[in-house]
Structure formats: structure tokens, C-alpha cells
């Protein structure tokens, strides 16, 4: 038997209009952690979906050899049967079902044809404990945040007979601590002899855990390299994007003005779930400033952002909000927008964009009145101009502004989302995880845009779970924990350690 | 909240204590049965029996529910006009089993021994009256005849059509009438006694579904199809008043229709107005008061334990059911005042003369 547990040879996969994979070769050694990297849309997820049988045998060209044998998977069920377990980029959990039901979904523990719920429960608890978690498994998934959900996904994988574990961007929605925890688990599994394929855009993690790295670009295998001390991030980036990026966080000369925005004694109570999502927040933003908000998952940063952005979730709110020195009371999101605030959502697919609509309608939807003529009708010609301008200035890759955003890659979707909010000409732009799940090239472009914007006098609040990004981009950093702002750090003071200390401070 | 509900229900409550006579009528969707309800209520005001009227809304299931509710309340006499004469058999059997006397009202429940009496207008006779009216007003040959019928799902529609066909068919065969709008009827024009299946075929084509919408559309489409020579002075068999008005409206709008005779039945107020205005030619008046009076008379005797002997009897497939038959009357513009107003069935002021 060869040293490779998996060999994928000459895999070609086409979608109508796109060649997602072009004769890709991909080999994974037994027992290693193999990282798969590449720009958005380079074909990583597609390759893994071919491997798992999500894309059926016959819908692609090429062959898959697992443990020395040729495989023809007709469904996910087939690949799981022989030990290939995939955790997809889109989490595969059912919100209305309990943890234990989710963990054993698709491979239920049966006794005389009936599901043995007691055993299911105790087994679920066992797997979770193995991962270092003790949870009430009879709670529904919808009661947990993404961090826990990701852990449950892993528990689900481990509850199966797993030989090869595929993780598609498991850490993209996790913060530092949870990411580390997860990587620790992956290394732990390696010790137990489980091979892993890990897809990630976070190069630091990759260098930390990978034994081997394969880089994809535009559906082609670019290179497979052993991970050793000689490899640098810059080198990998060069292979990924095909050019060199010297500094991911571009330099900027701050030109900070007077206070633009401030909240005092801010509290938000979620009446549906009967808990405070924001317990206490006092913070401000100055003109031309980028303010970072760091914190762990569940710290309440998104909720804080929503609560100041006209409160679309109908929290019960108390406290004061000042904008340009005046006390404001937003009755609705549209009030907030009118005042000059914009919010780019962390979840571009879920609540950021209308995926079935084209680029131009998405860009103008939040501020149609800007292109109204005769006080009544939308000027569609003007709309086209606007969209084309943004497409050019933000370098949105698409064949036209009439393309559905559904078919754009993550980075480009993020840019459309950004364009939509720039079109409302905000004075304060709130970016929630602006670079989640997007590749370094696109990240760099977004950072550059941010710099441009503050140079023009806009203020930015950047919520981010990636500490390097927070440190690299912010003029000032607030840290949130358990619904409270637990500290403020100036650019000079801020370090990873100090932020972490505040982030776990309750 | 609970109090409000209680109060609300109490308002609609007619009576909760035991009821002597239970009446179940087919549907409130057809104005005809609303009239029956009103007449029953006013007739029973004069007696000291308690009654309750329930509607089945076109469903045999609801009808059974209604009967069961009435039985639970301990009625002694059930007056029922079945939604479906066949499907109601089981329902009246239940009543009989509970010791209740059953009067079949207007429509005869078939294939059961549980019916004690039948009070009726003869539905076949209604059709005959409609046919006769058209025949009486036709002279010469080749008069265009348009046929319409009730719903395929309603057995009465078959009885009406059967009666009308009986009278019309010879006149079609001898060339007095020419059927314009039904190829199926045309094919069977030499057959006097149609089988159920043959009638079905015809009704399938000329049905109004008892609906205005369908009736008017069908009339308009028939007129589109008809040649100019198929129009002129036309004769229309319309099964009841509602459809007659819808059909008449369509014919009135056609430039090539010079005059029309259109039948109807039920003497609905709306149609009486049409007759007065000359837009509908006739309606078959079934004086519901007579039927109601007969039904109540029988019921009162039954409550007193007296069994009536009736002059007639109908075969319902299981037994000969003693029957009391009421006369129907043909109402036209000429006699409308005499028949409906002078008899106080309607008020003079209900209409614009």
C-alpha cells in the first residue's frame, strides 16, 4: 500500500459556464494534516465536494483512490461509509433539532429499527467530552452560537467512523481562542491516526498545523509543498494570488478629527430570548478614525452593532446615543441610515445581500431615493452608472453589473455589500467581520478601500475576530466580553495578549 | 377572554334545551333554502313546539353531523332535505334507530326503510313545466333552442332535465326546435327516455354548475359559436332562477337575439324583479309555505302519535313512502301579482313595478 491514503487524479469539474476544477491532482499522506489553500473561487470546496460524493461520480472527470482502491461515490453516504467525513463550509446543522439529534443525523443509533434515544444522548455527551465540552445535548442547535456549532459539527464527524476528516474553513467564523481550540483538536486527532484535510484562509494557522500544503488557483493545482521553517507567508501568498503582496495591512496616515459618534450606558435586552445581549457599552468614534471592536464569539458585538443601527431586532434599549454632538433616538434602521450610519453585515449571504438579484439592484436598494427622478420614479440609467462606477472602483469581478450576486465569489460578494453601503454616503461605516472567509488578495483590497474612506473623512467601526486585522488596521481598539465593553486600548497599547485578557474578562 | 367567548356564544344560541323537531336543509348558498328556513320559522311560531334548523352546506358529512347533533338534543321528528339522496340513507337510519320519525322534505332519501313520509313538489314536474312553457310559446319550425342544466353533482339537476326533456324531445324530433348548444343532446334527439349515462353526457356539456359565473360564460361562449341564423327569436331552458338571470343577461346583450324565452324556478325575489322588468319569462313557483305546512302538519301528528294516511306514495328503492305532494305554479309577468303578491308570499314594496 502506498503512503497516500488519498489520491485524486486529473479531477475536472464544470458548472454551466465555469470550469471550477481543471485536471487537479491532489494527494494526501496517511496520518498528516494537509492544508488546502487558494483564493476565493479557486475550487477548494468543489474539490472536497467531489471527494465526498456530494458531486456524484460521473458528474466530474478523473479518479479518486482511497486506501489504494478506486472509488465511485454516488452520495455522501457512500464516502462516509468508508471513512471520509466532511465538515462543510456551510454548517450542516438543523436549528430546530437538538444537539444529540444533530450529531447522529444520518447515522442514527438504532435498536430493533427504532432510534435508541438514551444511547444517542449519552454517546453525544461522550464525544463532546472527548473534545473538552460539556453541554446540555437536549438543547436545540438554534440556541448556540457558531463557535459551539462548529464544535458540534466536529463531534458529529467523530461520532462516525472517521479515517479522513475534511474541514472546509472551520475557523473562518471562529475567534482566536476557539480557532486555537479547534486546531488543537485537529492535532489531537492526528495523534490518534486520523488524517485531516484543512481548508483555510488564515495563513498563520496553516503554517502552524500543516504538514503539507497544496495551493489551488483558478481550478488548477499550483503547487504542493512540505511545511518547514523555510516557508514564509509571503511565499504562499505569491503562489496563491500570482503576485507579491508586500504588506497585507497597507500603511495610512491617520487624520483624526472631533468626536462623531458616542453611546453612553447602552443596554439592549432581547425580549424573545429574555436576556441582555448588550449589558453595558460606552464608547465613541472620531471623525476619520478606524475603531476596532475585538472579542470572543458571543461577546455581543453584532448585537451591539444592530442595536445602534436602528435596532432591527426589536431589542429593548436603554442609554444615550450621540451623533455629531446631538442626542439621537433611531426609531428604525432607515432613521439610522438617514442620519449617516451604514452597517455591512457579517453574514453577507444570510442578511447582507439579496442573492437572487443582480449587482446593481443590490447596490442601490438601501438608498433608492438618491436616484429618484420626478420625485417618484427610479432612474434606471443613473442606476447603471452608479453600479458601473462601484464595479470599477472596488474592482468587483463579474461579467456585468447584471450578474446575480449568487454567482459571485465570497470576496466579490463582500465588495458588493460594501458598495451598497458606500452608496448611502455614510459618515460612520460599521463593518462586521469585513474579511471573514475571503482570501488574502481580496482582503488587501478591502483594507486599501478602508484607508481611502477614512482619508476622505469617513469613520469606521470594524468588528473583527481576527486579532492581526484588529491590530493592523485600528486607530483604537475596544474589547467586548459578555455583552460589556471591558476595555479600550490605543493603537500603541494594543497587543494580542492585552486584548485576550480583556476578552475573557467578565 | 373566556367570558367574552361565553357571551358571544350565548348570543347565537337559539335554545339548548330539548328540541322537538329538527330540520336539516341542504345549503344556505342557494337562496331557495333560505326561504324555506324563514318559512319554517314563521310557521312554527304559531305552534308550541320547539324547532331547530341546520344547514349542510352541500356536504353529506356536515349533514350527518347536523343530524347527530339534533339526535343528541333529543328531537322526536326529523325533517330532512338531503344534500345527496343516496348518501343520506345511513344518516336517516341513525335517526330511525334513535326512535325518531323521519320526514323527507322536497327530495326523497332513497334505499332506506327509515323514511316515514315524503312531502314534496315533484321535481320532474318542475322540469316538465319549464319544457311546457317553451313548447307553448313556440310556433313554426326550427326555433333555436338553448339548453342549460344544473350541476352534474346534483341529482335534482337530472330530475329537472329529465322532466324538461320529456316534453321538449318530441318537439325537437318533429323539428319545432333546433338544439344549438349541445352536440350530445343533438345526437340523442330521437330518444325520449334517456339513461342516466346519456343524461350525464348532455349535462356535462350544458352544465351551469348552479353558478352564475359558469352560466354566463357558457351562454356567452355558446352565442359566440352560434351563427346569426341560430339566433333571432330563441328559446332557453334555464334550470333555476339564478342561472336564468345570468343567462338572460348574456342573451340580452347579443345584437342578433331579437327575443328570448327563458325559464327558471324557485321564484327568487331577484327573478321576480326580472320577470316584472321583462328580462326573465317565467319561473316555477314552489310555494314553500305549502310544503312547510304539510311537513309541520305531519310532524305534529307524529308528535301526537298519529299516523297519517296519504293519497300518494313514492318508491324509494326500499319501500313505498307515503307522500304529500304540493302543487307547483308557473309564474309569468301576467300572473305574478296574483300568485305572489295577493297570496302575501312577497310584499308589493319589495319590487319596482
Amino acid at each position: 500500500m502506498s503512503e497516500y491514503i488519498l489520491e485524486m487524479k486529473n479531477i475536472t469539474k464544470e458548472f454551466p459556464g465555469v470550469k471550477a476544477l481543471d485536471k487537479v491532482n491532489f494527494k494526501v499522506k496517511k496520518g498528516e494534516i494537509h492544508c488546502l489553500i487558494g483564493e476565493n473561487g479557486s475550487g477548494k470546496s468543489t474539490l472536497m465536494k467531489v471527494l465526498s460524493g456530494f458531486h456524484k461520480y460521473g458528474s466530474y472527470d478523473g479518479e479518486i483512490i482511497f486506501e489504494g482502491e478506486k472509488q465511485q461515490f454516488n452520495s455522501i453516504y457512500d464516502s462516509e461509509k468508508i471513512g471520509i467525513i466532511t465538515i462543510y463550509q456551510e454548517l450542516a446543522l438543523i436549528p430546530e433539532l437538538t444537539i444529540y439529534e444533530n450529531i447522529f443525523l444520518g447515522h442514527e443509533i438504532k435498536n430493533k429499527g427504532m432510534i435508541d434515544w438514551n444511547k444517542t444522548t449519552s454517546e453525544s455527551e461522550k464525544v463532546l467530552k472527548k473534545l473538552g465540552y460539556e453541554l446540555d445535548t437536549s438543547k436545540k442547535i438554534k440556541d448556540f452560537g457558531v463557535g459551539i456549532q462548529q464544535i458540534i459539527e466536529i463531534a458529529k464527524a467523530l461520532s462516525k467512523n472517521v479515517k479522513l476528516l475534511v474541514l472546509d474553513e472551520p475557523t473562518s467564523s471562529l475567534n482566536e481562542t476557539d480557532s486555537e481550540n479547534l486546531l488543537r483538536i485537529v492535532k489531537e486527532l492526528k495523534k490518534q491516526g486520523i488524517t485531516s484535510i484543512l481548508i483555510s484562509h488564515k495563513l498563520n494557522e496553516i503554517l502552524e498545523v500543516a504538514d503539507t500544503i497544496t495551493i489551488l488557483r483558478d481550478g488548477l493545482t499550483i503547487k504542493t509543498i512540505e511545511n518547514n521553517e523555510n516557508i514564509t507567508e509571503n511565499e504562499i501568498i505569491k503562489h496563491m494570488v500570482g503576485r507579491e503582496i508586500t504588506d497585507i495591512y497597507p500603511k495610512r496616515d491617520s487624520n483624526i478629527g472631533e468626536k462623531l459618534f458616542e453611546v453612553k450606558n447602552w443596554k439592549a435586552f432581547d425580549t424573545k430570548n429574555e436576556r441582555y445581549v448588550v449589558k453595558s457599552a460606552n464608547f465613541n468614534v472620531k471623525k476619520g478614525e478606524i475603531v476596532g471592536i475585538a472579542g470572543l464569539i458571543g461577546a455581543g458585538r453584532t448585537e451591539l452593532a444592530h442595536s445602534i443601527f436602528g435596532n432591527p431586532d426589536d431589542y429593548k434599549i436603554s442609554g444615550e446615543l450621540y451623533f455629531e454632538g446631538e442626542k439621537r433616538n433611531f426609531k428604525s434602521t432607515s432613521d439610522a441610515i438617514k442620519t449617516g450610519i451604514a452597517y455591512v453585515s457579517e453574514d453577507r449571504k444570510g442578511n447582507g445581500l439579496i442573492l437572487d438579484f443582480d449587482i446593481k439592484t443590490n447596490i442601490t436598494v438601501a438608498n433608492l431615493k438618491k436616484i429618484i427622478k420626478n420625485k417618484m420614479f427610479v432612474n434606471e440609467n443613473e442606476e447603471v452608472i452608479v453600479a458601473q462606477d462601484y464595479r470599477k472602483s472596488l474592482k468587483i469581478k463579474s461579467y456585468s453589473i447584471e450578474q446575480k450576486v449568487l454567482n459571485l465569489s465570497g470576496g466579490n460578494q463582500q465588495k458588493v455589500s460594501l458598495a451598497k453601503w458606500l452608496f448611502v454616503s455614510p459618515k460612520l461605516l460599521i463593518l462586521d467581520e469585513p474579511t471573514r472567509g475571503i482570501d488574502v488578495g481580496a482582503k488587501h483590497e478591502i483594507y486599501s478601500i478602508m484607508n481611502e474612506l477614512v482619508k476622505e473623512g469617513m469613520s469606521i467601526i470594524m468588528i473583527s475576530s481576527e486579532l492581526p486585522e484588529v491590530l493592523g488596521m485600528s486607530d483604537r481598539v475596544y474589547v467586548m466580553s459578555g455583552g460589556k465593553i471591558t476595555g479600550e486600548l490605543s493603537k500603541e497599547e494594543a497587543t494580542q495578549e492585552k486584548i485576550m485578557v480583556l476578552a475573557v474578562d467578565y | 377572554m373566556k367570558k367574552v367567548l361565553l357571551a358571544l356564544l350565548a348570543i347565537f344560541a337559539v335554545t339548548i334545551f330539548s328540541v322537538d323537531v329538527g330540520i336539516v336543509l341542504p345549503t344556505k348558498d342557494e337562496p331557495r333554502w333560505v326561504q324555506d328556513e324563514a318559512r319554517f320559522k314563521s310557521a312554527l311560531n304559531d305552534t308550541n313546539y320547539s324547532v331547530e334548523v341546520l344547514f349542510s352546506q352541500g356536504s353529506s358529512a356536515k349533514e350527518r353531523q347536523n343530524v347527530e347533533a339534533l339526535l343528541s338534543k333529543g328531537i322526536k321528528v326529523l325533517i330532512i332535505c338531503p344534500q345527496d339522496a343516496v348518501a343520506a340513507a345511513g344518516t336517516v337510519n341513525l335517526a330511525k334507530k334513535a326512535g325518531v320519525e323521519v320526514i323527507s322534505y322536497d327530495r326523497l332519501v332513497t334505499n332506506t326503510n327509515s323514511v316515514d313520509y315524503y312531502v314534496t313538489f315533484d321535481s320532474v314536474e318542475v322540469g316538465r313545466a319549464q319544457g311546457r312553457f317553451l313548447v307553448d310559446h313556440a310556433s313554426g319550425k326550427n326555433n333555436p333552442l338553448y339548453l342549460y342544466a344544473g350541476a352534474l353533482s346534483d341529482n335534482n339537476a337530472f330530475l329537472f332535465f329529465q322532466g324538461a326533456w320529456e316534453v321538449l324531445q318530441p318537439k325537437i324530433a318533429d323539428g319545432t326546435f333546433r338544439i344549438i348548444n349541445s352536440t350530445e343532446a343533438q345526437n340523442l334527439k330521437n330518444k325520449k327516455n334517456l339513461s342516466r349515462e346519456e343524461t350525464s353526457k348532455i349535462i356535462n356539456q350544458i352544465t351551469t354548475d348552479w353558478s352564475f359565473t359558469v352560466a354566463r360564460r357558457k351562454a356567452e361562449d355558446n352565442l359566440t359559436r352560434a351563427r346569426r341564423t341560430d339566433k333571432g327569436n330563441v328559446f332557453i331552458l334555464a334550470p333555476n332562477d339564478g342561472t336564468a338571470r345570468a343567462i338572460a343577461d348574456a342573451f340580452k346583450q347579443d345584437r342578433d337575439v331579437k327575443s328570448y324565452y327563458v325559464t327558471g324556478q324557485d321564484a327568487e325575489k331577484a327573478s321576480i324583479q326580472y320577470i316584472i322588468s321583462g328580462k326573465q319569462s317565467m319561473t316555477v313557483f314552489k310555494d314553500v309555505r305549502l310544503l312547510v305546512k304539510d311537513a309541520i302538519n305531519v310532524a305534529q301528528f307524529l308528535l301526537k302519535g298519529v299516523k297519517l294516511i296519504t293519497p300518494q306514495a313514492y318508491d324509494n328503492g326500499s319501500k313505498m313512502v307515503p307522500a304529500i305532494q304540493s302543487e307547483i305554479q308557473v309564474v309569468t309577468k301576467d300572473n305574478v301579482k296574483k300568485i305572489l303578491i295577493d297570496s302575501k308570499y312577497y310584499k308589493d314594496s319589495d319590487f319596482r313595478w
Binding site: S75, L105, E108 | -
Partner: protein, 389 residues
Amino acid sequence: MFNEIGTLLKKNIREYGMYIALAIIMLIFSVLTNGLFLSARNISNLFNQMGYIAVLAVGMTLVIVIRHIDLSVGFGSGFLGAAAAILLMNHNVPVLPTVIIVTLLGIAMWLVIGFLVSYIGIPSFVVTLAGMMVFRGALLVSTEKSGTIIILNDTFNIIGNGYIPDFFHGEYIHITTLLIGVLIVLFYIYSDIKSRNNKMKYNFEVLSVPVFIVKLILMSSIIMYVFWILANYNGLSWTVVIVLIVTLIYHIFTTKTALGRHIYAVGGNPEAAKLSGISLNKITLFVFGSMGFLTALSGILYASRFQSATPTAGASFELDAIAAAFVGGASAAGGVGKVTNSIVGAIVMASLINGMNLIGVGISYQYIIRGAVLVAAVIFDIKTRSKAS
């Protein structure tokens, strides 16, 4: 102990909500009818009246759980009833083969519907609206020859009209029925104790002994009371037996089997279910197939009850079934809905009609009140749900 009961109630208010609503309605009608509503005879009637809707409601629940709807079950049921009548009367097919053929026919037809919905991707609303028209037409064609088709077959007709025989010939009371009640209670107590012990083996939290006993006694008395009432009239009807069996099977199926849980997974998040290796298309086919099976059953129950097949049979059954499922807490957003609750929903709606009939509420107001109660029930459900979570 009272504390424990308190938390128990709070935790499960969502589930008990339904039962509370039913209790309130029953109470009101009992008062308004001087107890007539709860009389043996009336309760027995009530159950028999809703049999053919109840089985539809069970199937509809699953259809709604996977985010679909089925408007075709009404006339579909009417048509399948007519098919049974034709087989029995025109072709002299015996009862058992008739029932089997009609059931298979129902399944086959609904597999076509399921295929159009899943593989072709037409919205279920459209497919079943079309199905409604087609079945309506087909029903008219089937009854064209003879009008309403009379079914003269006692074995068949007993399904919808008969009661189980009393082997003990009780004079005033139906002893077999009582006995079945006792057996059910014993089985209930046995399985509840077993499941509690099982849980204790796994060291899970369980109810404390006194609370557990209170629960057992309460539930047992309710069951016994219902059977007592039924035994006081004619005993258990075959309709009730069939509905009970269907409910039991579907209850176990949906809560205990993998396939059953997969249905809820698909309803809760189709994409995620797919990634967990569950085939959406197959689940959809299955759920519609089951709907076809139950529609056939409903058609048979109805035809048997009326000993005939009428041209209007089935009209608007679909709306009653859908209303029952929604009143029972099924959610149009998918993934939520219990078959047992839908049965309770069906009882609620049937009680309403029955109660109003007893009081003598006119039909016009009956419609208005039914509409109002439907909305009220769902508001109640939404409110208790948001409080519970």
C-alpha cells in the same frame, strides 16, 4: 414537588397549550349545552365525525413539516372513495383487494405529485392545486354513469359505521371497550416506568417519584375517562380504532425512526440535511407517498361512512386538514409539527362545529366563529411558543 410540577409545566407549555385550548373549548360547550356536549353519545359522534379528516391531518402535518402544502387531498379522497365504490359494485371485487388496490392507487398518484414537486421542482401549491382540479374532474367522470354510487357491502360499510363487537355482551356498558382502555393504561404505565428506569441507567435526570406517580395517575384517568364514556355508548367504533392505530404508527414513526427524524431535518434546514447525506427528493417522495396512502384511507372511511360515493365527496377536506395541522402547532416555516398535536387540532375544530350545532348557532355565524377560533388558536400557539423558549 409543586415546584417540580411548576417547572415541568413551564418547560412544556408549548405542548400543553394545545390541550389547554381544547379543555377550554370543551368546558365552554359543556356549560352552554348543560353537559350535553360531554355526553357519551356526543363524544362518540364527535370522534366518528372527524375520522376521515384526522387521518388527512396526520399526513398533512408531515407535508407541512417539509415546507409544502397539499390542496389535492380533498377531491383526491373523494375520487379514491369513488374508485373503491366502483371496484366493489361494478367489478365485484371483494373488500380486502379493493382496499389494497385503492391504497396502492393513492400512493401511486401521490408519488407522481411528489415527483413533480421534488425532481421537477414545481411548487407544491401549484402541483396540488392542479391535482385538485384533475381529481375533481376524475370524480365527476367516475360518478357520471350512475350519479351517486351506492355501496351495498356490509363488510365495507362497517369500516365507517360499525363498532367493535363486545365479546362480553355487557348490557349497559361495552365491556371490550373498557378492557381495551385498561390494557392501554397498563401498557402506558409499563412503558413509562421502563423508559424512566432506562434513563436512570444512563444517569439522566428523571422526574421525582411523587411527581412521576401524579403524572401516571393523571394521564391514566384521562384515558380511562374517555374509554368509559365511549363504553357507555356503543363502544369503540372502527373509525376510532383506525385513527388510533394510524396516529400511533405515525407517532412512533416520526419520533423513533431515522426516516421520521430525517423528515424533520429536511423541514428544518434542507441544505444542511442534504449535506448530512439525506436525499431531499426521496424524503419529499416519501412524504407525499404517505399522504397518498392516508388520502386513500380517508376516501375509504368517507365512502364507507356514507355507504356511497357522491360527486361532491371530499370538497374542502384539504382545508379542514390544513386547519387542524396549523391549530395543532405545525409551522409553515418547516421542521415543526407533531402528528399527535394535529389530531388534537382536528378534535378542536370538530368540537367547535359539533358544539355550535348543539347550541344551534346558525351556519353563517359558524363560519365566522370557526375563522376567528383558527386565528385565535394560532396566536395562542405563537405566544406560548415564544414564552417557552
